[in-house]
């Protein structure tokens, strides 16, 4: 039925095909699930040769980047997804598409999935153009070949369509395409966190080896680098052993290596091609299994397979590292939706969906997308008496409504850390499926949080905290601003608009958050072969304004300014007024937003304001926990950045319109 419709439509007009099919199939599937999978029939792929890409409406490419966004958080959203493979012919993609489909239904957005009916990159590139012609609100895609895909993706970006990459890509910088973010596995972090897990499990690790079946492949080398770095940091020697894709030869290589290196007792393999010969070698030894099960040796691996899962269950293998393809699909739709609806942007150029650790605790766990979920959020302040928290709580409310989960927000009715700690204990009593909380004081909160974790309740932190390592509390992840990344990306943006010599104006030198911002800023300049320094000012606006003026007089080369909040931006604006300078005379960016900063962004004086996106702290916390309970999706990294979220000329209108609610 569907096929017949497609065929008959194709005869009518080659180009109308995709759009029409889209509409028809979309209507046919209108039973609540808005996801549509579209694959052109064989032969269609030739219709969209690279030359055809000019069919995108002429003149569109010249249009300036303007907000593609109406200020209506509830308006219908249409997203196009283009990927180089489909569930129809590659089972891996069924998980990705399940994520897309679930997100589509839960977030109530319309997503159409386009893909070729066999692996065909040129056809995929054409599909990007064809999808863009449908004027979607956002485009999500796999950047399987950045060179081939650059031209069609750029056309979408030039039209003001927000673009998110998933599963295949390397991030906007490495790919040379300015899309928002790439969702995929952080390979280095996978190796690093894997190494840390081994060290935490066994106290007697004396040497480690990363068994690499494809030395030279950047992804696999990064995994080994992370692993050896983690062990070296703990004073344990670790090296890389090159094996091949031939299992028998590899088994011999592993065996020979171990004979020559008796102290090595931590083994990391990078997939079934390394794990299988490793298991073969272990079985060949008398003591192999026993040593692993007793914890004298530890083995972890990337990827999962029936063999790997079985060995995780029987205690031979500590973990398998999953890139969590479900989250790639779900996350791409979610991020695109948040950009379109609320102007909330992804914080980092690369968003890690993995490593997701599969361990004895969760191996074989089945997903249940309809499971009821009860979350308790404990925070040190409430919207009732601190307006900042209204935005966080709005995020919680929105996620709660979309996901159909129960969330109770608890907080003291005045700032009271001891009462907040007690609330954590009281929340544990309710035996919720998960707890999210602010780690406002990692010493004071440690005991109650640890009790929650000991009771088997998953815990994550939002807004206040420093990550499980720095806080010394083994919660899942911390959602907050990545200060260094904010400074670094801010520096890159100022360089991109012509900055050559930068200054980071720091009103609180010594505060680690603010120092991190400046470090990121100066690193961005240094990395680009330029120079930047830090200028210390105070919280006194008049004195600071004089300091800035004196500094510029002494350093006339300075042309790029970063301030770290209103306390730096206001004296800077004072200095501009004093010297009669305005838009076009200086390059300025700042952290935070204030009425003055928003005015100056609109006036073109300030390039951007960097926001920690508190909405995303509430929204992301609820979403991560719901995905964990229902889909066994584990937060990939110890810190999940919600900011920097850049507010610039392109989105200042929506940000201003939604201020106090979503921003």
């Amino acid at each position: 039925m569907k096929k017949e419709k497609e065929d008959s439509m194709r005869r009518l007009h080659r180009f109308v095909v995709l759009l029409a099919v889209l509409a028809l199939v979309g209507a046919a599937c209108g039973d609540g699930d808005d996801t549509t999978t579209t694959s052109p029939a064989p032969g269609d792929t030739t219709t969209a040769a690279p030359g055809d890409t000019t069919t995108a409406a002429p003149g569109d490419t010249s249009s300036t980047v303007s907000p593609p966004i109406a200020v209506d958080p509830d308006r219908p959203v249409k997203i196009a997804a283009v990927q180089h493979a489909l569930c129809a012919w590659d089972a891996f993609w069924c998980t990705v598409e399940q994520g897309i489909s679930d997100a589509s239904a839960l977030l109530d957005v319309d997503v159409t999935v386009f893909g070729p009916d066999q692996f065909d990159l040129d056809a995929t590139a054409s599909l990007i153009d064809q999808a863009v012609a449908g004027a979607p609100d956002a485009l999500i895609l796999t950047v399987t070949d950045p060179v081939l895909f650059k031209d069609p993706i750029m056309r979408a970006i030039d039209q003001g369509i927000p673009v998110i990459a998933y599963n295949a890509g390397a991030g906007p910088a490495a790919d040379g395409i300015p899309y928002f973010t790439y969702l995929g596995q952080d390979e280095y972090a996978g190796g690093f966190l894997g190494g840390q897990r081994m060290l935490a499990t066994s106290a007697n690790i004396t040497g480690g080896v990363c068994i690499n079946h494809q030395v030279g492949s950047a992804n696999l080398d990064a995994r080994c680098q992370g692993f050896t770095d983690a062990l070296s940091a703990a004073g344990v020697s670790a090296e890389v052993l090159a094996i091949s894709d031939d299992p028998t030869a590899s088994q011999t290589t592993i065996s020979d290596y171990r004979v020559a290196n008796q102290d090595v007792n931590a083994f990391l393999t990078l997939g079934p091609n390394g794990a299988n010969p490793f298991y073969g070698w272990v079985d060949e030894l008398d003591i192999g299994r026993l040593s692993l099960q007793a914890g004298e040796w530890v083995h972890g691996t990337f990827d999962t397979s029936p063999e790997i899962n079985a060995n995780i269950e029987n205690g031979l293998t500590l973990f398998g590292i999953d890139q969590q393809p479900y989250l790639q699909g779900y996350g791409a739709v979610m991020m695109a939706t948040n950009i379109v609806r609320y102007g909330i942007t992804p914080a980092l150029p690369v968003t890690a969906t993995g490593p997701g650790f599969v361990t004895r605790d969760n191996v074989g766990a089945t997903a249940d997308s309809t499971r009821s979920v009860k979350i308790i959020a404990v925070q040190h302040a409430l919207c009732a008496w601190d307006a900042f928290w209204c935005v966080v709580e709005k995020g919680i409310e929105v996620a709660k409504g979309q996901l159909g989960v129960e969330v109770d927000v608890l907080g003291p009715d005045t700032f009271d850390l001891d009462a907040t700690a007690s609330l954590i204990d009281q929340a544990v009593t309710a035996a919720p499926d998960a707890i999210m909380l602010t780690v406002t004081d990692n010493v004071l909160f440690k005991d109650p949080i640890q009790r929650a974790i000991d009771a088997g309740i998953p815990v994550l932190a939002y807004n206040a905290g420093a990550g499980p390592d720095k806080d010394g509390i083994p919660y899942l992840t911390y959602l907050g601003q990545d200060e260094y990344a904010g400074g670094f990306q801010g520096g890159q943006r100022l360089i991109a608009v012509g900055g050559t010599t930068g200054v980071c104006i720091n009103h609180q030198v010594g505060s680690s958050n603010l120092d991190d911002r400046c470090q990121g800023f100066t690193d961005a300049f240094t990395e680009a072969g330029l120079s930047a320094e830090v200028l210390a000012i105070s919280d006194d606006p008049t004195a600071s304004q004089t300091t800035i003026g004196d500094f510029v007089t002494a350093n006339p080369d300075i042309d790029a300014f970063l301030t770290l909040g209103p306390n730096g931006a206001n004296p800077f604006y004072g200095y501009l007024d004093e010297t009669g300078m305005g838009a076009g005379d200086v390059i300025h960016g700042t952290f935070d937003l204030s009425p003055e900063i928003v005015e100056n962004i609109k006036a073109g004086v300030t390039q951007f304001g960097i926001d920690q996106q508190p909405f995303l702290q509430g929204y992301g916390g609820v979403t991560a926990l719901a995905l964990l309970v229902r889909q066994n999706i584990v937060p990939a990294l110890p810190v999940t950045p919600t900011g920097p979220g850049f507010v610039d000329a392109s989105n200042v209108a929506i940000v201003e319109a939604l201020a106090g609610q979503y921003r």
């Binding site: 409430l382 608890l410 009281q426 009593t429 309710a430 004081d441 009790r451």
Partner: protein, 333 residues
Amino acid sequence: MTARTAAPVDLRHRLSRVPEVVALIVFAAIFTYFAIAAENFATPLSISNIATFAAFQGIVVVGVAILMLSGEFDLSVGSTFAVASFVFGWFLVNGYNPLFALLMALVVSAGLGLINGLIVAFTGIPSFITTLGTLLAYRGIARAIGGGNRITYRDEPIALFDWLNADIAWLNERFSPVANFRVSILWFIAVALVANYVIKRTRYGNWVFSVGGGQAAARSQGVPVRRVIIVNFVITGLLAGFASTIQFAWRLSVDPLRGDGLELVAVAAAVIGGVKLTGGYGTILGAVLGILLLRTLEQGLVLMGVDITIFRAIAGLILIVAVVINTYLSKET
């Protein structure tokens, strides 16, 4: 007086000799309600939370109740509480002997109570005004000691912390999930028992009631009114300081707002427990029930998913109802 009203008046008189009766009934009613209505309420973890959180506040309540029995009250206990933790923390963080740190915290908090007592006893300024002033002043002292910041103890925990407030592991581990009974509960019980004995069985206890009943009458009976008032303020400050060190031994961190509002919780607990604001009437047991009732209410509301901001509203309602009933019961006929 007719025969028809004789029976209720008789009952009222009998009940009026048990000032904690209202608190007991309300506590039982609330506890039963939550046990039925709130999932997970009647669990070891929930009960242990109520007891543990009531413990350190309860020690403060006992002090406040003794003071109220003598007709005075102390709004500065929350600030004294903060000062004690800051003193304790400051000496610990700066490497002093832990026992010396504890001693200093107790001496300072007793000293703050003494200042309150001297002002009230010798100037005749009402304790409400006096301690409203010291509430602000002592909070300033707490901020000054911490330089406006927190004091956090980051070294290895010391044995003194276990004495003050260890996790009662052998008991907690019998339950799943692990319960939250702590040594502070034992301190609370000990303090309450000693206070109860002193108030009910000693001459000093009689003096306290006598001063609370009316200073002129007490003085005419030879009760050293000023001494009783001063000693009671010192006891109140000391107990606030002791409770504070118990809390610090668990939390290991104190911020400048610590204990803010505790004075009202303490007065509320005592009043709900049947202690009269005007003095001369009430029991330690009643005050203990009062604080248990408030902690039970909070834990129950959390479990029922009721907005926590409603807690104060309900607590206030219970307070008013308790006062109305207590006033009715103790009314002279």
